[in-house]
Symmetry: C2
Subunit: 331 residues, 2 copies
């Protein structure tokens, strides 16, 4: 049971703890989809606050609770904050996974702190040099996994190949895509394009047994060219935030246009569009390569996003992502 | 007269020469907006093809024509192509500017070839180390200039500072924005964020007399945080293509939704939205820092985009962009 448990960082995120507690309850009320029963969640944070708020919300339905006396804020420098606050809620989540009280952790908190605490506290899987943040978006009618979206801003070519391998395993063994196509995010199709990092990674990927389809450009990402898009963590993070900003911008533009026509169904139309692009629907990012399932949610997550993040952790646990990665890298 | 002339690469682009010739005619028919009279354009390309096609279209209204016997294709490796084809249409455009037969050139052709031919053929402006591609988009109700969008994928910190300076001069002296805010595209707000390149550029920009507002993230680009967004050419090029792909994707999503409601005005709504994000409305990118006005249009440009690219070149010429840059860098 404990191995299937999910430690939830109640204190992490812009709207914590309220949105996280609401999200935990919401995940349980939608258990058929999220696979979350109350007993599956271990709430990590200020025990008194958690207890009293849950009382107000109708009582604790069966969540485990683990006290943590400290909170790492969103704006803190990760390394210093982790040193200065050994009893932070995110450190508590990592410890729960480390000692086997949980198999996964979910945090909407400071991304750098989650990556740092998880990597140092849990270690990497056998064969993995550097973990990578994988985000799966459904941009072309089926999922595409982008890796790395910010764990490692200065990867080596070998790191990029491992991101390709981990992304491939995830898509194949957890999302049931037989032979995922791997693309390398670059500024042109030719193998001679891009930085020295990308040229070398291109050569290594070409030699690998992955289904490497070559370089993909920003436009191709929306053209069903690849199932796994590999990039360095700097570019990946810029891309992720740009997509977020741009989708919000486009939706505002559309809303203005629809309002000009005084359209009653405009809001529903936008909701339908938003659903296809919104990170909140996908719950968050998986930090692939660490010895434990780690889901990093968006700092702005509301209750629905938190519930989906818990659902993502549950699916990753149930699919045995990490065993598949270890087997894939060994094979 | 010749200094205000624009050499137009008739053979460059996916739909050349047809779209380019149609664009030249279109620019003239909309002269109040584009500032293009037939005498202002010098068409560079296959003289016989240009002549016969213009005859079919009603005759040459007064364009100059300069013969070029070769064409650099979109997929060719720029450096090799420029060596192998000394009489290409893009090389002809550069020569026209070099000898003073024109003050500007416009090409929808191979971007690398345009950048390479212009930089080598025209040289850089006094004080400029590396040219940068500047794209001006109106994402937040007023223009934002992004630089560099792909001329230099391995800039130094000093290069980034010059991009900031050139972008500032362009926005201030050509787009009449009194004190343009400069942002550095990065993965976090803090000065400690990002690659060594960005940390050093942040320090240099902080010391400069520019209106530096610090790091901006992908989401901020749509939040009116900066008027000039500085980035390396690799990230810039990824960003530019991603925006293009994403806007097309969002518009397709919206169209599907509107069609579900059988909305007659849907097409117009989408046109209105597209107008605010479409590169074609802005005509293209300016290669800032070379000794001559160089406008790089999109390879997929249709006649309207070509006309707007010519209009951008005319405005840049009339505004004396390069004199302002030289004065700005010296001051």
């Amino acid at each position: 049971m404990t191995a299937s448990r999910i430690a939830l960082d109640v204190m992490g995120g812009d709207a914590a703890p309220e949105a996280v507690l609401q999200g935990a309850l919401r995940a349980c009320s939608d258990a058929a989809r999220t696979r979350i029963e109350p007993q599956r969640l271990l709430l990590v944070g200020d025990e008194a606050r958690i207890g009293s708020r849950l009382e107000e919300l109708g009582g604790n339905p069966g969540f485990g609770v683990q006290h943590a006396s400290q909170v790492i804020e969103m704006g803190e420098a990760p390394a210093q904050a982790l040193r200065a606050k050994p009893d932070s809620s995110v450190a508590g989540c990592v410890r729960a996974v480390k000692i086997g009280a949980a198999g996964a952790l979910v945090s909407m908190g400071n991304t750098g702190a989650v990556v740092g605490a998880s990597t140092l506290g849990l270690g990497t899987l056998a064969g993995v040099r550097r973990p990578g943040i994988a985000v799966t978006l459904e941009l072309t009618g089926h999922p595409t996994t982008f890796i790395d979206m910010g764990a490692n801003i200065a990867p080596t070519p070998a790191n990029l190949v491992q991101y390709a391998q981990m992304g491939t395993v995830y898509m194949r063994d957890c999302l049931a895509l037989p032979s995922p196509r791997v693309g390398l995010l670059n500024i042109g199709e030719e193998s001679s394009k891009g930085t020295p990092l990308l040229k070398e990674a291109h050569a290594l990927l070409t030699e690998s047994d992955l289904n490497f389809v070559g370089n993909v450009e920003g436009t191709d990402v929306f053209g069903d060219q690849a199932d796994v898009v590999v990039t360095d963590g700097f570019t990946g993070n810029v891309v992720l935030k740009l997509l977020e900003g741009f989708s919000g911008f486009m939706l505002r533009l559309m809303l203005t246009e629809l309002q000009r026509h005084d359209v009653q169904w405009g809001a529903q139309t936008l909701t339908n569009v938003r659903r296809q692009i919104d990170y909140a629907e996908y719950g968050g990012a998986l930090l692939l390569g660490v010895d434990g399932i780690v889901v990093i949610g968006h700092g702005k997550s509301d209750a629905a996003a938190v519930a989906n993040a818990c659902g993502l952790a549950a699916r990753a646990l149930d699919a045995g992502v990490n065993a598949h990665i270890v087997a894939g890298l060994a094979g």
